[in-house]
Symmetry: C2
Amino acid sequence: MDFPSFLTSLATSFIIFVVLMLLFTWLSRKPGNAEVYYPNRILKGMNPVEGGYMARNPFAWIREAMSSSETDIINMSGVDTAVYFVFLGTALGIFAFSALVLLPVLLPVASTDHSIRAVNTTSNGTFTQLDRLSMGHVGKSGPRLWAFIVATYWVSIVAYFFLWRAYKHVTELRAKALMSPEVRADQFAILVRDIPAVSDGQSKKEQIDSFFRQIYPETFYRSMVVTDNKKVNKIYEELEGYKKKLERAEAIYAESKKTNPDAIRPSHKTGLFGMIGEKVDSIEFYNDKIKELIQLLEAEQKATLKEKQQSSALVFFNSRLAAASASQNLHAPIVDTWTVMDAPEPRQLIWTNLSKKFYERMIRQYVVYTVVFLTIFFYLIPIGFVSALTTLDNLMKILPFLKPVVKQKAIKTVLEAFLPQLALILFLALLPKFLLFLSRAEGIPSESHVTRAASGKYFYFSVLNVFIGVTLGGTLFTNFKNVENNPNSIFLVLAESLPKNATFFLTFVALRFFVGYGLELSRIVPLIIFHLKKKYMCKTEAEIKEAWAPGDLSYATRFPGDMLIMTIVLCYSVIAPIIIPFGVVYFGLGWLLLRNQALKVYVPSFESYGRMWPHIHTRMLAALILYQVTMCGYFGVKMFKPTPVLFPLPIFSLIFALICQKRFRRFFISPALEVVSHELKEVPNLEIAFRSFIPPCLSAGKSDEHQFEDALSHVSKTGSSSV
Amino acid sequence: MDFPSFLTSLATSFIIFVVLMLLFTWLSRKPGNAEVYYPNRILKGMNPVEGGYMARNPFAWIREAMSSSETDIINMSGVDTAVYFVFLGTALGIFAFSALVLLPVLLPVASTDHSIRAVNTTSNGTFTQLDRLSMGHVGKSGPRLWAFIVATYWVSIVAYFFLWRAYKHVTELRAKALMSPEVRADQFAILVRDIPAVSDGQSKKEQIDSFFRQIYPETFYRSMVVTDNKKVNKIYEELEGYKKKLERAEAIYAESKKTNPDAIRPSHKTGLFGMIGEKVDSIEFYNDKIKELIQLLEAEQKATLKEKQQSSALVFFNSRLAAASASQNLHAPIVDTWTVMDAPEPRQLIWTNLSKKFYERMIRQYVVYTVVFLTIFFYLIPIGFVSALTTLDNLMKILPFLKPVVKQKAIKTVLEAFLPQLALILFLALLPKFLLFLSRAEGIPSESHVTRAASGKYFYFSVLNVFIGVTLGGTLFTNFKNVENNPNSIFLVLAESLPKNATFFLTFVALRFFVGYGLELSRIVPLIIFHLKKKYMCKTEAEIKEAWAPGDLSYATRFPGDMLIMTIVLCYSVIAPIIIPFGVVYFGLGWLLLRNQALKVYVPSFESYGRMWPHIHTRMLAALILYQVTMCGYFGVKMFKPTPVLFPLPIFSLIFALICQKRFRRFFISPALEVVSHELKEVPNLEIAFRSFIPPCLSAGKSDEHQFEDALSHVSKTGSSSV
């Protein structure tokens, strides 16, 4: 890539960004789009925009984002989001402080070095403008390299400082959230798994109750045995489906009545896709189905509660101190029985994973790790295979009716260009879902943990495949034999290839922030989908609400994306310091835009009180170590004799990691008792806390409150069954 | 070593053993030796021998040892000793069951192989009798090697079985001990370290009390702040020294008065070693000193309690359930503050280590590990250096007055043979003490933990230096370059050298059990020392008691010694199955003899409720893996094609280790709540539990009970100080 084309690509990205910003300013002022641009405020029952749409300054959102405090973020979007901003702020801080020293020092040092100009003049005109500003322009083993050594240390020290500050700050955030006087159901419960087989004549529930009552005679409140809800859940979902269909049919009928009082009642066929079979009156049919299913559901609920008890349970305590303490204690001398952990929020419990056994979880974990490892390293093999199969010729053989279409020249050209990539594009689009699926298959009991696990896997995938993959390109495989014999040489190879790809990654980062953040803020895609759905598909209020449901920040892909940028910028920070401003803009702009999105758009789907942080911290440190090791290699390539002064850096990072782990980590696994011993603002209603954990498929369908009450007391008092 | 000399060495060892056994039978029947042969029974207030010395069957001790149950051992010597017998039993079981299959199968298979007889006949007469019974006698890549492959698997499977059973059994032992209805002071206390600095105007004691009272409002009893007792302890020890001297002087005076009523009162000089200085009346002098020191001690006690408080404390709870739970909980969000662990017994607390800070402990640990690593690998260097310095010529230069003595030919010969080894002998004799010192320097708070740590270090030292060192001999260093380039080749080198040393280790094991156990049982050395001391040095009852104090089983050296034998026998089990009977005899004889010693001789100096087990288990598994890897190498040397069928074995061992760790380990760190929730047989007297933790230097010297009470209430109530 030469300089003009680099500038062109930068300019194009910038223009797209400006256009998207203008679009946002225009679209967000239309009241009809409020559900797309302010869903979080609407769901919280707030006025979407204070002071009317048109009267607003078009850049008011910037002021609002800038002036919002951390407390605002926690109130609007929870601790996890606040932690995400700590992450953005940390990355921004690291790069800003690095830039403060690196730009004014390294750029002049590099550009005024004339030692290798003789070599450079031969390649004159290609890309000297940027090359001159990078470490590649400094002569081999020249004394000017000392400046770059110092710079490498400076970036590391700045990183340690900000990482330490951030960990401390997140610890405080988490402590504050856990000690909050609000009553939160999950703080009163623990999750108990691997309960051993019941002995003679005892029911599961009796076993659990007597076990915990003996140990916690005063603080034990009640237990809820986990049941196998597969069947009851299926019935429940079917029932909910029919309810929606009924609502929809009624809405259609009411609408058509408005224009034509004699409108016929909606009807449909009962067979496949409503295309064949008997024709029935929809409203009547759905009503009948619902009645039938409610009876089925109630029968199945009873059967589930009585007969499908699993070997795990949620145990409730009458104080959060007792629950926090219980969640950390060893209960039985055989350690793999009666394992406990603090209960996640009811909404993020993965009910089907709760009853997975200890060793099953272990085996599943290792199997998943193996699959992920294979995916990361060998995903190109099946994709290449699929690509080879889906050539045009093959396609025409399988689907002969396509022949006349494909024969057209224009279409053929497009298809031929597009088909080979198809498998890869599909794979990359589906990868996050696949990783989430894999993480769920590990047997993890909470959604937030699944998100963390998937995010970690995605991070390793993107760093290895995008960053290292692009950098090394073909060289890795040609050098494979070499690397196998001497694993350390991978860093030498990496160090040699890095500088060549500096401009590629410069444009990559710029594209990510201009186009990526432009799309993020303007929400063009959700906007179009919402309006299409609203116009053509949605008939009921519930359906419309579903159409504009904003979703959460989806950390599973967002973090790894940001971390990839961070890794790239870190690794290039000293080699080509010109990349640092791009990093600053990426994280600065990200902070600003996502502040707006967190305050107004996204609705978090869970709250883990900042448990994401240790994972982010570890990955940032991994990126830092990758950077340090690469620099060692690069200075080696530069034949710089004092290179060994860099060798302590990765060791410092490991020591730093160890100290952080010792000092902070455990609080992110177990709640500290000091924190939860703070008083609550009201006496907790334990009955409500208990009920909030009952899954909808078990609590729904009861027509009157009395029956519901009855079922619950059955659950808790007869002893032979539970939810 | 040829066959006759092997038999001679075996016979010599056996004769020594028989002589020592006869000595034991004779000596142990003399009532005057009861303190040497039955000290544990005497200290427990029991009759040394039921039914008089001479009336006893000389082999009664064998019957008594055989018929003693595990409960007897626990009652007489504690859970730790019972766990030691589980270890001996496990090793015995592994070898006995291995022998059952290996001896009848492998010996015929090996001795009837004629494929390499042609080679062997050339070396006829040297040692074919034993060689014929070993794997070396089987032809390279012959089908008979399959029997050895099966044998390798059989030994591993037997080991897994016995290790699993043992871990389960030890878990039960520990659970039973922890749930015992006896009141044990240490079960009501936790050790809190890394208490942060006191905030405004609060005393340390107030800070600790208010912290724990907030979290455990109902179960917190009282706290004891750890103080810096260095100075007060010094005064206390001086005081105790004078008390002993006074007692001795009085005893001497009383004795001499018996024979001569006008005996002069004992006197001594106050200067160096009582040789120079003013002559004083001893009894008066000591009485004055004691009075003086008591006053000093009391003043220093007050000062210590008030001013020398450290940042750690013992915290007492009013139920053992509460203490067990508190010892496992995270208390503060900053994890490296308020760290807790369950309190060790008062007698094994290492008071000076209690106040070591978190990171200080960490650093100390790593420094110690480095020192141990260097010691294990490079201990020969300083020893060689010292040996070179202490040649006769050098000695004569430094100490010229030795010249006439050294010039004598006989003395010179002895010295020349002995001097070079001197440094090595001294080093090996002092090594356990050195390792104990190092382990203590890590900042470990309890003696039992120090013992475990030292035992682990000694294990690695002995396996690496005795077993691998002897086996490889010179070859390791000549092959060093080779090994460095390909670390796996160490196992090939080991595999090649192993068979050559089989007879060396056969005699080594035999020596250990015949001579080692003979000395152990007959207690010749302690007997002689006791009688010498009693006759010439001891004047008072206390001094005599000190002279026969039996000590404990000193696990720090005993376990590594046994583990070395176990490693040797395991590694040779398939290569030269004839070693297995030696292993069986070692552990069988050991079990029997130490049963006697545990019941009658040794007095345990601490009780850790079997915490030693996970360490033993890990080391046995390490030995097993060493055996498996060596076998892989040896089959490789034998050019046996199906060798890879052995490769899964080390992996199985690692999986086995992982499962054992997950299933059993944590219970050996934290007490399980189910276990300690069992009821006590009486309401615990917390005041006594509390007082039992006060170190003698702080509680002693109070002349009347009232004052003592007063000091204690001062400690606990004024808030500004504590013990």
